[in-house]
């Protein structure tokens, strides 16, 4: 969590820079006040209190998510079809390529595509849903990490 604070910090500052240059301008509210949320990139509260993977990923790096959705996810889907697992995998792989060439990126993003697709299939019967709700958030991501760690290390040590 504290690891994410630095992302919140720089993204909020960058958003401020975009607002200052005018790029953050997003029209007017009905009462005539200005909207400056075009370049909002992260919603810390929505992210920390996310109840599922979709809400979690949606609150993180929002501008890039939007770009990937419009220019990869919807574009690789054949015309007239609904985007499915293959579109999700292509999108996450694109994001991994953008991030760089460490194998960890590919592991992370490919498993994120699986997690996202699973969350789409079974949003209501996920066994961790109620636990996640109770603890606020994030068990969805910490659980696989802790589980894999105990699987890798336990035979020797416990």
């Amino acid at each position: 969590m504290t690891h994410r604070f630095k992302y919140y910090g720089v993204w909020k500052m960058a958003e401020g820079a975009c607002i200052l240059s005018g790029l953050g301008f997003h029209g007017y509210n009905a009462d005539g006040t200005l909207k400056w949320d075009r370049m909002t990139n992260v919603s810390p509260f929505a992210l920390e209190s996310a109840q599922n993977n979709k809400a979690y990923l949606e609150a993180w790096n929002q501008m890039t998510n939007k770009w990937l959705k419009n220019y990869v996810y919807l574009r690789v889907t054949p015309r007239g079809k609904k985007p499915g697992f293959r579109s999700a995998m292509a999108t996450f792989t694109t994001s991994a390529v953008w991030h760089g060439f460490y194998p960890g990126y590919y592991l992370t993003f490919v498993s994120a595509a699986f997690i996202q697709t699973c969350g789409k299939c079974t949003p209501s019967i996920s066994p961790f849903l109620c636990v996640r709700t109770l603890t606020g958030s994030r068990l969805s991501t910490s659980f696989p990490a802790v589980f894999s760690r105990s699987r890798f290390r336990d035979p020797d040590e416990i």
Partner: protein
Amino acid sequence: MSPPSLLDFFGYVFFFPGLMTGPACDFAEYKRWVTLTMFDVKVPDPKSTTGGTKRRRKIPHSGIPATIKLVEGTLWLAAHATFSPWFFPEFMLSDNFLQYSFVKRQFSTRRALPNG
């Protein structure tokens, strides 16, 4: 729709929020911002019969909302500097972490103290 000119294309590619950060804005937004057509919207005004008034200044003043974001960002960075010595991901890879029970590990990923 014709493809953008070479100058527009490279302008977008080398524009920092363009390709380098993610991309954080798409080409159409960039183009409308650079040509100032993004700001051709009318201010809603209930008294007006044409649906609103046009601003005299193209880009609205944005110093105050930008400063608020700068302050917010600074506070997040201060929080990061304050709390990262107490909570850090490396703890999950240390041997102390394995002393925890399975249930406790679930919570320790977020609330790890050094030396367990």
